[in-house]
Amino acid sequence: MSELMTQPPGVIYRPGTSDAEIEAAAASAERRRKRTVRAWQVLLLVVLLGGWELLARAKIIDVFFFSSPSAIAARLYDWIVHGANGTPLWFHVWVTIEEALLGFFSGFILGILAGVALGRNRMASDVLTVYIKVFNSVPRVVLAPIFILLFGLGLTSKVALSFVMVFFIVFSNAFQGVREADRALIANARILGASKWQLTRSVIVPSAMSWIFASLHVSFGFAIVGAIVGEFVGARYGIGVLIQIAGGAFDTAGMYAAIVIIMVVALVAEYAVTYLENRLAKWRPAPLQEMA
């Protein structure tokens, strides 16, 4: 009878069917499901890494080409403690991140400005579209040697490469977003009294934002690609340099260790972008199925 005492007066439930009990049961089922998912994720990781390690130790796969998780971990530890290529590891990592960030932000901001400006100006976009297509058809990595020649082995050449990679993605998304802005919203704003500039600022840009954000995830990846390819071609510091050196010395553990570092950097960036997106787009309805 004790559970009947906690119910609102006048309402009597059969045991186990009160609102509180049903909610508690649903919550614990949800917790169980989450634990199961997490357990399977860990198990999968252990099986993959353990299998790799075992196969390498049993000499079924060639450690010369595939290395082994323990060797990669040992190399990472060595780099963290003693530095890599005569320089502390964090410095290499920071150089690459700095290049990628500078390229990303400059490309992102100029890409939005150019995309919105061209999207709002019919004449200019009709004139320039063909040239933009031509430039866009150039694979960006072939510019790396030119940028090294132009800007030297330092920071500038990698930032430039990151920039061109990010710029065109953001530009074409912003342009498309401006063009796809809802006609009803534009008509409404005009009748409510918006001037051309007010229309751009308070209707066109916000409605293009979802297109621009869609490009954000991809473009940060490309910013890192730009920085690393630039480092391959010519640099003194950076993760790209580490991979280049390890490759030259047939040091597969070193190459994989550098890849692990890049993975970590890219994942952190991905989370940061998602966080930013959620903060800025709080007006959007929550997705039906929350992504895990």
Partner: protein
Amino acid sequence: MTADGKSMTAIRDFDMSVEDGEFVAVVGPTGCGKSTTLNLITGLDRPSAGEVRLYGNPVNGIDQRIGFVFQTDALFPWRNVIDNVVAGPLFRGKSKADAYRDAQVWLARVKLSGHETKYPHQLSGGMRKRVALAQTFINEPRILLMDEPFSALDVQTRVLMHDALLTLWTAARASVVFVTHDLEEAITLADKVYVLTAGPATVKSVYDVDLPRPRIAAEIRYQQDFIDLSHTIWNDLRDEVMKGAAQSDAAA
């Protein structure tokens, strides 16, 4: 002009005048050029021949005295309720403090006080329309154009919206041109009902609705004189609806 560059005659010899403070409803078969007419009055589009006059002056660009309620949802989805309502006054250069104070007043009139910080996607269809009404009325338009504003709502909500609209209109005394395909809606709201012909549209006939005001939308449709009037206008409209349907079948 249509998008593919061919000219299309949506309306021809279209002559209609609206008195100050009058509520006019326009009914006609689908695709007869009702929306075109409204776009011409606002200045969103320009006529290929002839001219539209407002208070004796030709329409040239968007007129500040006009308000427009759209058929589709035209609230800014990235702004919350009150920021949607203040959009017009801020565009027109009012101070922030004044705009937000007025917005509170209008939100109270459409019974949405307490929902200021919600986003449009969190509201029901009827609430969104009420925000749209507040957004339009806050600019104090002398002429209010409405393009099938309630056609997306369910029947019960629509009746509530009719009452809300009549209350706002009575307070604001704007001239209203209300386009609809729903004859009962037209008679419920309007002083005058224009029946249009199938496209190209011209005015076929005009009916005065002399039902007394204030009207209660939920009740009026069961009164005998409402039913009689509705019957008369429908007989007139039916031929055009048939013609319009035949035209759109032929075009498809």
